[in-house]
């Protein structure tokens, strides 16, 4: 993938709009210059005391036209620039989404988590600043510069050369030096700042331990020392920009003197009218001032590179296109089975996350899966969902490989620990399970998960925005909304991936009861961390390092396994 692709591709795609913005930008500067030129001309001309006011009528009109024109063009220029950039934003978002989408299940991808993706979303917005604050103004300046030099050369080649060199200091040398000087410092500053961030976050998260240790003054001292260092860098940066600004002003002043001198000389030679001296001096001042902000914009370049790098990284990690499954299980919705035959999985031959699991689950069976973290529970689930492919052995849903099934979401539903509730209305969130569900259907599932009363009490009922309700919905209620979604999705198999972690025992119990009641008849694979509710399961199985170490019905295990009895005692200590 081309390195600059995130930038260049859009310039090519929208080249016409870019040209338009550049023309508008150039015109804005030219009109401002024209205003000062005609003003200077006007009063000089007037100073020659012409016979009648009609003699200066044209410059008078010119002054007003340029004055108003500049304001109008500057307004239109800003709008067209932003409109362009917003078009690019849409394109970039679609592109980022398409890259991120296949990685959602890719366990090894760094871009799986919402936080990381949120960061990329702001990277895109940051890149837009590149167009607005660096790219467009620079190109406009270069055009104005070129025009100016050609125009000077029209009168005098040596003057044009001197002018090209001096203004070149403003436009090329200054920005280049800024870039070089700022780059290293900005990077160090950023490192320091990130360091401070990490350090402070670490401390704030572990604040109780710091308080108990009674030595937090140590942290404050250390922290301030690092801060001093970043101040030092900022002071250096300030000194540099100050120096650059002063030098720029010298160039500006020098250029004005030079122009006035040159115009004086031309007048003396009789090549131009004396009334043009003021016009040239004043208008040059205006043009040159428009070049001053370029250096600041250019020294921001490394910051854009960071954003660019992250966006490119996610494109590199994009997994190869998987073939889209096309098959459909031929069995009836009501009799979907899951068969695993010596199913193994590992990212590399050395690490076996699942080891020869053989298991068969019939439609309507309820299976609880227990195991420590890292025992292979979630690997097993992802194999069933087809987002991972077995290293050996196989898993089949009614005889088909999950990754070959047309839309696995029609067959397997998932309720996980933290189902995401989107920032839209309650009804839209529930409807995600079945986009064409009628309001009656939504209300029906709302009733089934015992949310009807709570939702009825919201300010706008089902139409209430999630954000407003975010505070109001407790952990258990959020799970119920997600459950309603699953009910609408109406799949023969439902995976419950620790949906009750973090809930207090009574809430957990009620939620379990609701889940079991509403999901009856469906195959349930329930990953759980303890044994509350396992009595209701047909089968309980324990995974350890990728193999099944205990399995059987609850009563069976209670009778035969001493270990199981001890574990069960933790959940039901007094019965």
């Amino acid at each position: 993938m081309d390195r600059e692709n995130w930038i260049i591709a859009y310039i090519c795609q929208y080249s016409r709009f870019f040209v338009l913005s550049i023309i508008l930008g150039t015109l804005t500067i030219l009109l401002g210059t024209g205003l000062m030129f005609t003003s200077g001309y006007l009063i000089s001309k007037a100073a020659t005391r012409p016979e009648s006011i009609l003699m200066v009528y044209v410059p008078i009109v010119g002054v007003r036209t340029f004055g108003i024109g500049r304001a109008v063009f500057s307004y239109v220029e800003k709008l067209s620039g932003h409109s362009l950039v917003l078009k690019i934003l849409s394109q970039m978002r679609i592109r980022l989404y398409k890259v991120a989408e296949p990685q959602a299940f890719l366990h090894r991808s760094r871009f799986r988590t919402g936080e990381m993706l949120g960061l990329l979303a702001s990277d895109i917005e940051h890149l837009l600043d590149f167009y607005l604050k660096t790219f467009l103004p620079s190109v406009v300046s270069i055009f104005v510069y070129a025009g100016l030099i050609i125009w000077m050369g029209w009168f005098s080649i040596p003057f044009a050369i001197i002018g090209a060199m001096m203004i070149g200091l403003l436009l090329f040398v200054g920005p280049l030096f800024s870039l070089l000087y700022m780059k290293a410092r900005n990077e160090r500053l950023k490192r320091l700042k990130n360091g401070l961030y990490d350090k402070l976050t670490d401390t704030v998260m572990g604040i109780s331990d710091w308080i108990f240790s009674g030595k937090y003054f140590l942290f404050t001292e250390e922290y301030q020392k690092q801060e001093q260092e970043s101040y030092k860098l900022e002071r250096q940066k300030l000194a540099f920009t100050n120096g650059r600004d002063v030098l720029n002003q010298f160039v500006l002043g020098g250029m004005v003197i030079l122009t006035v001198a040159w115009a004086g000389k031309l007048t003396a030679e009789g090549r131009i009218a004396p009334v043009l001296i003021a016009a040239l001096g004043l208008s040059l001042l205006t043009v040159l001032e428009s070049f001053l902000p370029i250096a600041g914009g250019v020294s921001e370049l490394p910051a854009y590179q960071d954003s660019l790098r992250r966006l490119e990284a996610i494109e590199r990690e994009k997994p190869p296109e998987k073939e889209v499954g096309t098959e459909k299980p031929s069995a009836q919705q009501q009799s979907i089975s899951i068969e695993m035959e010596r199913l193994s999985f590992g990212y590399s031959p050395g690490e076996q996350l699942l080891n020869e699991i053989t298991l068969s689950i019939n439609q309507g069976e309820k299976v609880a899966i227990l195991g420590r973290s890292g025992s292979g529970k979630s690997t097993l689930l992802h194999l069933i969902l087809g987002s991972l492919s077995p290293s050996s052995g196989e898993v089949k849903i009614s005889g088909l490989h999950p990754c070959r099934i047309e839309s696995i979401a029609n067959w397997v539903g998932v309720l996980n620990q933290k189902p995401y509730l989107f920032n839209t209305t309650v009804i839209n969130n529930i409807r995600l399970g079945k986009p064409d569900a009628t309001i009656e259907e939504v209300q029906e599932v709302g009733r089934m998960v015992d949310l009807d009363e709570i939702i009825a009490n919201l300010p706008n009922g089902y139409e209430t925005l999630m954000e407003e309700t975010g505070q109001r919905f407790s952990g258990g209620e959020r799970q119920r909304i997600a459950l309603a979604r699953i009910l609408l999705q109406d799949t023969p198999i439902v995976i419950l991936d620790e949906p009750t972690v973090g809930l207090d025992p009574l809430t957990e119990k009620r939620l379990l009861a609701t889940m079991l009641k509403t999901l009856s008849g469906k195959t349930i694979l329930w990953v759980t961390h303890h044994l509350a509710g396992v009595e209701k399961m047909d089968k309980v199985l324990f995974l350890e390092r990728g193999t099944i170490t205990m399995q059987g019905s609850h009563h069976n295990l209670l009778e035969t396994e001493e270990r199981y009895r001890r574990l069960y005692k933790l959940d039901r200590p007094f019965s």
Partner: protein
Amino acid sequence: MDKALFKVKGIRAVLAKLAALTVIQASMIMTQAFYLAAAISSLFGGDSFHRTARELAIFFLALTIRQGAAVWKKHIAFHFAAYASETLHAALLEKLFRLGPRFVKKEGSGQTVTLVIEGITKYRHYLELSLVKLLNMALIPMAIMIFILSLNARSAVILTLALPLLVIFMILLGLAAKTKADRQYESYHLLSNHFVDSLRGLETLKYLGLAKSHVNKIAYVSEQYRKATLASLKIAFLSSFALDFFTMLSIATVAVFLGLDLINGDMYLHPALTILILAPEFFVPIRELGSDYHATLDGRNAGKKIMELLERETFQELDTLVPVWDSSTNFTIKGLSVQYDDYATALEDIELNVTGAKTIGIIGASGAGKSTLIDVLSGFLKQESGNIQINQQRVETLAAKSWQRQLSYIPQHPYIFHDTVLNNIRFYHPDAQANEVYEAARYAGLLDVIESLPEGLATMIGDGGRHLSGGQEQRIALARSFLGKRSIIMLDEPTAHLDIETELELKEKMLDFFKGKLVFLATHRLHWMRDMDEIIVLEHGRIVESGDHEQLLANKSVYYQLVKAQEGEV
């Protein structure tokens, strides 16, 4: 402008210095314009370039001094802002440690860190920029105005009239933009966050089988967003249009009237040209005021938030010497109450009396006040009233360092610092020897884990380091406590989130660890209760029952109900 600005220490001296420099700057702006005009008009009059050398030299010198003054002003403002923010930083950190974990939990650790780092940076930039801008605005236009008045009254009047007109239009348009923005806020907010929201919920979309088709929705919403944004920008940019329009129009008007005066012979070229050069300078400060508008607003808000935080009440940490706890120490609490606030469930009339080693279970429904009680005992929360005594000696507050140094705290999710396993275990005792740490790790059952790590005890863990499971984190906390050898242990729901096998193993370790110590353990998990010497049952912030498991069960009251509810079938 912001009144709070004038409360910052040392600001008067800084303002005086800046004002003096601004006056110099303003006079140089005028000198510069005056001599440039002089040079041009003398050339215009037919003088040779050499005769204008003096004027041009003065022009250049004035330019230099003007820039020098501007740079010096920036320098002063930078140092003042840096000094002010450094002072704030120290105060803010100190405050944070006083406010403690409850505050952090409520505000969110991310928010807190952002406020300390970004908030202060923003406030600093605000100070730095606004001081200079404030003085420029106050002094430069006025100085130029007076000067122009001395040259040509009409021009001065035109510019003076333009200024308030311009300000009024900017305010009107700003208000119009704001009303429009407010009206559309909700839908606008939804549109602008839709993309991030989609990315965050990508996994869920995927589970629902909607991920692929969702791209159409993103395209649609982005287009809506573009339209909505452009519509509001059209109005928002009008205020800078007004600024431009009036600036340009008044310069043009000044130029035209100057031309008329010149034709009539009421005026010479030199003053007219001076006015023309000065006219744009007249508007520069107000343009600067308008730029960085958002940065200024952000900085001001950040400053407000920081001040609010600093003014927040914290209880004074008194260095009362709390006696060192031993097996005969008596710890009594009488009539302790905690008022309800944002952070805590209220507690009322808490009574407690323990002597020596004892394990005390704290139980109750969600929101009954278990965590609040643990936090009061840990000194994170101030009691409203009540009497705390240790060995009959009254203790004002448990926030005393000498009390907290005797405590060890194991929450549900113990924090793992971004550091090595070694340093994490010896956090309370940074000078502990490696063999002592090893012993603690062995005790907590961490040896297997440590052996599996690439660099053993020296492996980095915590955020960005090697990931540990919940059980392993809890073992680190246990090892930390073991090494700390502190005699009072506070636990807040230490095992509820662990898988049951790990929970069983850790429970056995912990029960052994509790021996000879004073232990307070708040939990929902009933299995701990049989191992507690005493159980405190909380309901709505009050102790409704206490005793050991058998007694409480025999009471057939709140505890009995709680057990029954949890033990019942699903």
